[in-house]
């Protein structure tokens, strides 16, 4: 369902882009939506850059429940996922995604469906 397939210009206003980025990032990083901030900027070369500030979601330290992958690796994959999802939803290509973890929240395990 790509908007680019249809002829005509598709302009999505910036607040919508920011909210989209916010939602996509919150899902990719498994962080509460309310605490994720996103900024969408033009990086000066006509491409979009997304900057995300989010809490780091982690299990309680000391309980030996740490994931087997360090946070950085997970975050880098999340960056790619964010760019991909964003492009799918808005049709805009993202050249750059940066993530800053500014605080921490406890990881709530997903309910089994």
């Amino acid at each position: 369902m790509s908007a680019a397939a249809l002829p005509g210009t598709d302009r999505i206003a910036t607040p919508a882009l920011v909210h989209t980025a916010q939602a996509v990032a919150a899902e990719a990083l498994r962080a509460p939506l309310r605490e994720v901030r996103a900024r969408v900027v033009d990086d000066g070369r006509g491409a979009l850059a997304v900057e995300v500030t989010s809490p780091l979601t982690l299990p309680a330290l000391g309980s030996h429940a740490v994931p087997d992958e360090p946070v950085l690796a997970t975050a880098h994959r999340a960056r790619a996922a964010i760019a991909e999802r964003f492009r799918t939803i808005t049709g805009r290509k993202v050249e750059r995604v940066s993530v800053t973890f500014s605080s921490a929240v406890l990881d709530v395990p997903r309910r089994v469906r």
Partner: protein, 193 residues
Amino acid sequence: MNGTNRTLGRVVLVLVGLVFLALGTAAVLVQLLPAAADVWRTTADRTLGGLRTGAADTSAWWWALGGAVVLGVLALLVLGSIGGGRTGTVLEDDGPDGGLPGQVRIEAAAVEHALSAAITPLPQVASLAVDVRRVRRRTAVRIVVRTRRGAPPRDVVDRVEDVVRDLDALLGQRLPVLLRIVRGGSSRPDRVR
């Protein structure tokens, strides 16, 4: 735990101390002992001669001015080296080459919150403070724990070690961590949540 250069401080104290000690005792000796006064008078004219009244050449005073400026600058530099400092960022990583451009940054607050949430609930801990600081160009974490009265320190150390080991796995890196166990504690036998 801060970035002050302690060795520099000690060296400076020794140097300044020696100079002051020497000057002070010299002044006392010169005033009281005629022999010392003679020595002073002969050397003083040679060294300080250019600064006296009627000296033709004023270069001595220029030297004095230069020396004073240098001394002042050095003193200011030493004062400036007294550092302290919480850090903003703990980790920055650009990701694999060839991947999407952009970086991941982990700020001090994230690490501080994570450690705080993990250590505060421990039964031996009466209060806790965590901060990430820069010490001599390296990032280090300081955890200050106030234990309940009589609580064995070894328990606290073991539990904090567990927490920090998990943090190591999480960050993929071992940050230097200082644990300070501090006196004082809650006088209430039970903590009310």
